[in-house]
């Protein structure tokens, strides 16, 4: 009873005043505390297992060859996935080229120009809805507008699908970044005669850059692991790509293909690729964290 005594006070419901905490209430507390610790244990075991297995199995199969060689054919030993690493980078880059300017300019409108009118409400609503669109639907969308029109699977189609998924994150973090710039800065700029364009591009945007960079890197991190939108857009390729208009291997699709394969060597490479993706995501998250500390305001 002693540890709880500090919390003792008069009961709110008047009547039966009890200055101690009854054993029933203590028991309730103990049971609940036990339950919470059980929750943590149950939740941590699978989550820790994922990280552990990815690291253990990934390191177990790791060799420098994974960066320099092509995926092994069925039943072959060795091999790597240099084409998939390149493919993931290219696809993410295309996604970023489309979504970053789009997202930042949209955020500039809602924060700098809209003054909270209905359009900004509408954009916010649409951004939220867009962020809930299942990733496979982004893939079907890109299939419909790129693959069908250009007549082939390509890294560009995959990039378009990823850009749809990256856009909401970029808009949101850009908005937050722009909002973090104090109003006084803008007024000062206007005060010395700057136009909106000058104020935004030369004063506000540079100040909000660390924030925006965080959003962009987080969006890229998410995109790097996406698989479903790439199945029918990038497809896969055994070889190196020579340009953005060819079917393209990506790490995530490689993991999928090799995970459901019956060949031990390919399963092993799936784990290595999983480790590399997780490490990429970890590194990007850490960079994002460091960048966001360098806030101007």
């Amino acid at each position: 009873m002693t540890p709880l005594s500090s919390q003792m006070s008069a009961q709110p419901d008047g009547g039966d005043v009890d200055f101690g905490v009854s054993s029933g209430r203590q028991l309730f507390g103990k049971v609940m505390t036990g339950l919470v610790f059980a929750c943590v244990a149950i939740a941590i075991i699978p989550l820790a297992s994922i990280l552990f297995m990815v690291v253990a199995n990934g390191l177990g199969g790791f060799s420098p060859a994974v960066f320099t060689e092509l995926p092994p054919a069925a039943g072959m030993s060795g091999g790597g996935f240099r084409n998939a690493i390149v493919g993931t980078l290219v696809t993410c880059a295309i996604g970023a080229i489309i979504s970053v300017p789009f997202g930042i300019l949209t955020a500039i409108y809602t924060v700098e120009f809209s003054q909270g009118n209905w359009i900004s409400q509408f954009v916010r609503f649409c951004t939220n809805v867009l962020s809930g669109v299942p990733s496979i639907i982004a893939g079907l969308f890109a299939y419909g507008i790129v693959v069908l029109l250009t007549g082939g699977f390509s890294a560009v189609a995959g990039g378009v699908a990823l850009s749809v998924l990256m856009l909401p994150t970029i808009i949101r973090t850009s908005e937050e970044g722009l909002k973090s710039v104090p109003k006084a800065t803008r007024l000062a700029a206007v005060g010395i005669g700057a136009t909106n364009f000058q104020t935004v591009t030369q004063i506000v945007l540079p100040a909000a850059m660390p924030f925006i960079a965080t959003g962009v890197t987080l969006a890229i991190a998410r995109a790097a692991g996406e698989t479903a939108p790439l199945l029918f857009t990038c497809l896969f390729n055994q070889y190196d790509i020579k340009g953005p208009w060819e079917p393209t291997a990506t790490l995530s699709v490689l993991i999928y293909n090799f995970a459901i394969s019956p060949y031990k060597n390919q399963q092993q490479l799936a784990w290595v690729a999983a480790l590399i993706i997780v490490v990429i995501i970890l590194v990007i998250s850490i960079i994002a964290r460091i960048v966001s500390y360098r806030k101007v305001y």
Binding site: E69, G151, Q238, Y239, I241, P262, Y263
Partner: protein, 375 residues
């Protein structure tokens, strides 16, 4: 103000410039890994890497692209890689996107050749004729058998009568110790366990071959024949690889895969009863028997649902390449003809090695005659 604004403008532009430079760098790096590869020979393992084609060489080199069926993909990729080693001027990339997509791309004209496990349908031929005002050319490249692979502890040579395998796929036989299975496997310890049937979850030429046979051979099979069907029972897995993997990982399971995949993954394969009542274990030789004595139609679309040959493994089929009778690029057509010719002669050994059924002499002659139409 003027000074200030321009300088920060430059700064802002530079940030964008760096961004663009970075992404350009990524795109360029997509090509660069090639060069070291030419210099250093692959250090084992990448038997299929054709990356060493001299991109700058130019002189008479052809780069062909094809897409389609997944069943022959391991063989095609191996053939094309081997051919590339012997003839560095010709590089052929093959995308295993599935027969349906292969036909679609062939009709759309986005590839140099298509590939399919199910011969072109009349309406697809009509579409091609309407677009290109010529008959499509389809040539069989190799054959294959669809086998029952299984994972059953302690049972080595499973034998399945017609009634047994028909019952399993139709969901009528659900336990391994069913009398219908036990009859043919005297002495085997069949467990009292549920049969875990594994089928394809994606559309596939393998399923087309398999269900074409079931439709012909099994009175209890009512789901018809197609590249994907409505399965009465079982779990779905993607691709021949997916089924093979799932059988490996699931005790008491059975499923159908191409012989080549069963062989490569060392799965146990059941002997099945053919039309003449003989139990035949799958092999390229027994698969080839299925085509013996069959009349070859003019469009080479030979399908054998249930061979009457007593020596034949009954679930066997062909797979085709789809070629254009005419093309703007004569060099490509010539190169393609050379590749096919090579595959059907020198490549035969590879086909057998991987578990495919090479074409017999009669079919090969017909294919070569058909190739003459390609210009």
């Amino acid at each position: 103000m003027n000074n200030h604004s321009t300088s920060s403008m430059i700064r802002f532009r530079r940030t964008i410039g760096i961004g663009i430079a970075l992404t350009m760098g990524m795109t360029i790096s997509a090509c660069t890994p090639k060069s070291p590869d030419v210099a250093t020979p692959p250090t084992g393992g990448t038997g299929t890497a054709p990356a060493s084609s001299p991109a700058s060489g130019g002189g008479g080199g052809s780069s062909l692209s094809g897409a389609g069926a997944s069943f022959p993909a391991p063989l095609y990729q191996r053939w094309f890689a081997d051919y590339n080693k012997a003839n560095p001027g010709t590089q052929i990339s093959y995308q295993s996107v599935g027969s349906g997509a292969g036909i679609e791309q062939y009709l759309a004209g986005t590839v140099d050749f298509g590939a399919t496990d199910a011969p072109l349908k009349a309406e697809e031929r009509a579409k091609f004729k309407a677009k290109y005002s010529a008959e499509p050319i389809q040539v069989p490249m190799t054959g294959g058998s669809v086998v029952f692979a299984y994972n059953l502890d302690g049972v080595k040579d499973l034998k399945l009568s017609r009634a047994a395998y028909c019952g399993i796929v139709a969901g009528k036989i659900t336990k391994w110790n069913d009398p219908e299975i036990a009859k043919a496997n005297a002495g085997a310890k069949l467990p009292d366990q549920t049969i875990q049937f594994v089928h394809r979850s994606d559309g596939s030429g393998t399923t087309y071959q398999f269900t074409t046979h079931l439709k012909a051979a099994c009175p209890v099979w009512t789901a018809g024949a197609n590249k994907s069907v409505s399965w009465p029972v079982g779990t779905g897995a993607k691709g021949n690889e997916g089924i093979a993997a799932q059988i490996q990982q699931t005790p008491n399971s059975i499923g159908y895969v191409e012989y080549a995949y069963g062989k490569q993954t060392s799965l146990a394969m059941a002997a099945i009863e053919n039309k003449s009542g003989k139990l035949i274990a799958p092999s390229p030789e027994a698969g080839a028997e299925a085509f013996v004595g069959e009349k070859i139609p003019a469009d080479l679309a030979l399908t054998v649902a249930d061979s009457a040959n007593p020596k034949a493994y009954p679930i066997s089929g062909l797979t085709w390449l789809l070629l254009y009778p005419q093309s703007k690029d004569a060099a490509k057509q010539t190169a393609l003809k050379a590749v096919i010719d090579w595959s059907l002669t020198t490549g035969k050994a590879t086909a057998t090695e991987l578990g495919y059924v090479p074409l017999d002499a009669e079919l090969t002659t017909k294919v070569k005659a058909e190739l003459a139409k390609v210009k």
